[in-house]
């Protein structure tokens, strides 16, 4: 293996890893729970739409909810059983709000649906591969949960130079990727090859933090000789948040993703190592994404471990399996200590993005009360986005949302480095999230207001038009009456005249419409023919209409 030149990203933190404790034993399979709660929204994008009904029996791997839009992912049954309810349940989300879930009662048989494996992925073209991956419900397993097939589609205007597999796993305590790399190194490379095929990528890099030496060695050993020509396995310094996509790309390539752009704009695509394994399972075995490895860890646990868990397994089932009883003095997080969030309920289910369940001692990890900012600038020293967290804090605090955007709030990746080092213990990230949410809300409000304003303006216009039309009608009527009076005709005559006038108006309008045709430039001869045929039919109908009306008139 040739040595790879590496770059640095600005800031970041060297954090204590706390990883060894959960890596003592191999990954254990968690038992099938009696009841699985499977949220329809486990990814970035629009929620999946249930296609099963309560009472329906489903097989393992059967689709329960289908993707609704482009940015969406289907949801599958993690085991065989009966759908007992489709209802709102507490779900793992920082907001703490409940979400729609499909509740599945397992029948214990764990019977698979009929699978459609594609043992030789090279037979599939990239687009067919993407469809397989999409239908398998695969989303980024590193934590964000973005539908993977989209990131396997470079689009017509881009080519992929480098495909990066992210095995950095930079957050403390989390070891699910490290365990995966140790136990299934070849599977990761299999997945990588499929991804490479889908993207037609030129070269691949698997990036691993240098605190995971074992995983690195095993991956290198699993690499076939000819693959080493286009797959590099690189150790990178252990600095949080080097596993962040932008930071990782900087470290490996020296390039920065321009603000508001995507890695693909530089010919780079980043996927997580666990996503690669899911892709391999989906393509080669035909298995949808129905389970994942979850790190269950923390100093307070007697036996921290990694578990292979079915999606939808309630946390409480895992606690029982591990003989853990939550206490008042403890706090349970989903995710790591830097970016995880407190779970609102012990019965929330494991979802596709649940990489870690971390149990913390409330007392030891609580933030001391916040003090005023002393402008020490430590936050700016560690910010990997090179923002000015202090200024962002002031303006977010003052609710000056224009200013906070001038300081590029939306470039913040919410890694938490600033809040971690703040000597005043200010919950900085919380302020940024608050400001972001407020700005989004304001934009929504503004859109709504714009729509309402346009509606109101149109209503005024409509009323005015109606008034004018009414007046015009009155005037016409008056004129006709006057005319009838002048010519000494009867009321019947005036009515007839009115009808005639109306007919004339309709006719004029029709003619005007037929004159105003759209899309009539650059027509092919065939289109021209079709149009002519339609016109002919129309003319005939019109003639029939006029004959009829004349008939009536003559009656």
């Amino acid at each position: 293996m040739t040595s790879q030149r590496l770059w640095h990203f600005f800031g970041g933190l060297r954090l204590a890893g706390h990883k060894a404790m959960s890596m003592k034993e191999p990954v254990k399979a968690a038992p099938i729970p009696k009841q699985l709660v499977i949220p329809v929204q486990q990814h970035i994008g629009s929620a999946a739409e249930p296609i099963v009904k309560p009472g329906e029996r489903v097989l393992k791997g059967q689709m329960l909810a289908r993707a609704t839009e482009y940015v969406s992912a289907p949801i599958h049954a993690s085991t065989s059983g009966k759908v007992v309810a489709i209802e709102e349940r507490p779900v793992p989300h920082p907001s703490g709000l409940p979400g729609l879930c499909i509740v599945l009662e397992s029948d214990g048989e764990d019977r698979w649906k009929e699978l459609q494996p594609h043992p030789d992925y090279t037979e599939l073209d990239p687009s067919a591969l993407r469809n397989v991956i999409r239908d398998a419900g695969i989303v980024g397993l590193g934590g964000a949960g973005f539908p993977s097939f989209i990131k396997l589609n470079p689009g017509p205007d881009n080519s992929v130079d480098t495909l990066i597999l992210n095995g950095a796993e930079c957050e403390p305590y989390i070891t699910c990727d490290a365990m995966l790399m140790q136990e299934h190194p070849r599977r990761i490379i299999d997945g990588l090859l499929i991804m490479k095929h889908a993207l037609r990528a030129k070269q691949c890099i698997i990036a691993i933090e240098d605190n995971k030496k074992v995983a690195h060695t095993l991956l290198v050993n699993a690499l076939h000789e000819h693959e080493a020509e286009f797959i590099k396995i690189v150790q990178i310094p252990t600095i949080y948040p080097t596993g962040g996509e932008k930071q990782l790309i900087k470290v490996l390539t020296g390039k920065e993703i321009p603000s508001h752009h995507l890695p693909i704009n530089l010919g780079i695509i980043c996927h997580n190592v666990a996503t690669a394994v899911a892709v391999a399972d989906a393509v080669e075995l035909g298995k949808p994404l129905i389970s994942r490895i979850v790190t269950f860890t923390g100093e307070l646990l007697s036996k921290p471990c990694n578990l292979e868990v079915l999606i939808g397994t309630p946390f409480s089932d895992l606690f029982d399996f591990c003989h853990y009883q939550p206490k008042e003095s403890e706090r349970i997080l989903m995710g790591g200590p830097m970016m995880g969030f407190i779970i609102p309920d012990n019965h929330i289910p494991v979802i596709k993005t649940t990489n870690c369940i971390l149990v913390q001692d409330k007392q030891k990890t609580s933030r001391p009360p916040a003090m005023p900012c002393i402008r020490c600038g430590r936050c700016a020293d560690v910010c990997p986005a090179r923002l000015l967290p202090q200024q962002l804090y002031w303006y977010a605090h003052a609710k000056d949302f224009d200013k906070v955007q001038d300081y590029h709030l939306f470039d913040c990746i919410e890694c938490g480095c600033c809040a971690h080092v703040c000597p005043s213990n200010i919950p900085l990230v919380q302020y940024y999230r608050f400001a972001k949410t407020e700005i989004w809300a304001q934009e929504r409000e503004k859109k709504k207001a714009d729509l309402a304003r346009r509606r109101h303006e149109f209503k005024l216009f409509r009323l005015e038009r109606k008034k004018q039309e009414d007046e015009a009608r009155k005037r016409r009527k008056k004129a006709l009456l006057q005319k009838a009076k002048d010519t000494g005709g009867t009321e019947k005559d005036s009515k007839k005249a009115e009808i005639e006038a109306a007919l004339a108006r309709v006719k004029a309008k029709r003619e005007q419409q037929s004159r105003q045709r759209k899309n009539v430039e650059n027509l092919t001869p065939q289109q021209q023919q079709t149009i002519e045929a339609v016109e002919e039919r129309r003319r005939r109908l019109r003639n029939i209409g006029t004959t009829e009306s004349t008939d009536k008139d003559s009656d």
């Binding site: 990203f9 600005f10 954090l15 920082p94 205007d157 881009n158 080519s159 130079d161 037609r200 932008k246 900087k250 920065e256 993703i257 321009p258 603000s259 752009h261 704009n265 530089l266 010919g267 706090r331 995710g335 200590p337 830097m338 970016m339 995880g340 407190i342 913390q360 990890t365 933030r367 009360p369 003090m371 005023p372 900012c373 002393i374 402008r375 020490c376 600038g377 700016a380 020293d381 990997p384 986005a385 090179r386 923002l387 000015l388 202090q390 590029h408 470039d411 938490g416 809040a419 971690h420 080092v421 703040c422 000597p423 005043s424 213990n425 919950p427 990230v429 919380q430 999230r433 608050f434």
Partner: protein
């Protein structure tokens, strides 16, 4: 904190706090302080205690008046540090009321009027120092040759009390100009440097601090040690001290090279007066200095330049306090204009340009 609906990440925190920061700065000041108190004896200790105690009382009083919680703020160490730093910059045998007035000026006018910790624009200790210097020029420029505690000529505890707390003690017998003051006067009288400096100017003396000067400013060596400790502990960064001392040294070297008879060399400037204390402990004040590295370099260079200009061509022999205050005033401006280049953006804040892969010929 009004809007904290959820307790959000990160759920881990570095073992750091304002109090820790302040106490580490005080720890770094300790060697120079103890040595200064030893050099100038009981009266210096009296002044030091009075100044620090007044600062704490003023802080407690202001906090109560502002309706803030007294305990967390009083014990965050910031008022203690302000009082401490102020005491170190006072003439060691100054009467007690200089300390009291100075502490009140620093805490009330310099800090609490702006809104308390973190809000002040100017370094509180330097606000007080300058106000005292202008208001009480005699008391603020009466220096003396060190009379180390327990040495033969040193005042006893009781004599010390008399010097600090009663009126009309004649200090003429012991008073002696500081090096900067002495040189300024002599040069003003038309003497040339080689004659002026022979008797008083000696690097070893300046390093050790056994020379007339402010209470805690005299030993350049001990201050340097404390400053390096702060650098090592990452309480301060190297940018301000290096830029300030570097600029001062460059200016001194340049003019000394032009005219050695009228302009002292860099060593003289670096190791005399408050240059060292200012560079490591005063200009680096977190609250009143810029945030970014480039901003700090500019700020430090400005301080160094102003110190040299004031010392050389202005009416005062020492200019650190003035220089720091002037540069404090520019801090918001520096922070506004010198922002770091954000990831994925150019310096002006616009997004980086990305190259279209296909047009580059790299497409398939």
């Amino acid at each position: 904190m009004s809007h904290t609906p959820l307790f959000s990440a990160p759920h881990a925190h570095q073992a750091t706090s304002i109090r820790r920061t302040m106490w580490l700065v005080i720890l770094a000041l300790l060697p120079a302080t103890v040595y200064g108190l030893y050099l100038f004896g009981w009266p210096a200790l009296n002044l030091f205690v009075v100044t620090v105690a007044s600062a704490l009382l003023a802080e407690a009083f202001s906090l109560r008046l502002a309706g803030k919680a007294v305990k967390p703020f009083l014990f965050d160490g910031s008022a203690l540090l302000t009082g401490w730093l102020l005491a170190l910059t006072l003439p060691p045998w100054a009467p007690w009321w200089i300390g009291v007035v100075g502490a009140l000026l620093a805490i009330v006018i310099g800090k609490q009027v702006f809104g308390g910790i973190g809000q002040n624009l100017f370094n509180p200790a330097m606000v007080a120092r300058v106000a005292l210097l202008i208001s009480f020029p005699l008391e603020m420029t009466t220096f003396l040759t060190p009379l180390p505690m327990f040495s033969a000529n040193a005042p006893s505890f009781v004599e010390g009390l008399a010097i600090s707390f009663s009126q009309g003690i004649n200090l003429d017998a012991v008073s002696s100009a500081s090096l900067l003051g002495h040189v300024k006067t002599e040069l003003g009288q038309g003497h040339l440097l080689p004659d002026v400096l022979t008797s008083v100017y000696d690097l070893k003396t300046l390093l050790s601090g056994n020379t007339p000067g402010s209470l805690g400013e005299t030993s350049a060596l001990l201050i340097l040690v404390g400053g390096l400790l702060l650098l090592f502990l990452r309480i301060i960064s190297w940018h301000i001290p290096l830029a300030m001392l570097g600029t001062l040294a460059m200016m001194a070297t340049f003019f000394h090279w032009l005219d050695p008879a009228h302009y002292p060399d860099a060593v003289y400037h670096l190791f005399s007066g408050a240059a060292m204390l200012g560079a490591f402990f005063i200009a680096t004040d977190l609250v009143t200095s810029p945030v970014t590295a480039r901003g700090q370099l500019l700020f430090g260079a400005g301080c160094g330049l102003l110190v040299y200009i004031i010392r050389t061509w202005a009416a005062y022999p020492e200019g650190v306090a003035f220089a720091v205050l002037l540069m404090n005033a520019t801090t918001p401006l520096i922070d506004h204009y010198l922002k770091p280049r954000i990831y994925g953006r150019r310096r002006d804040g616009s997004p980086l340009q990305h190259r279209n892969r296909l047009s580059e010929g790299g497409g398939t």
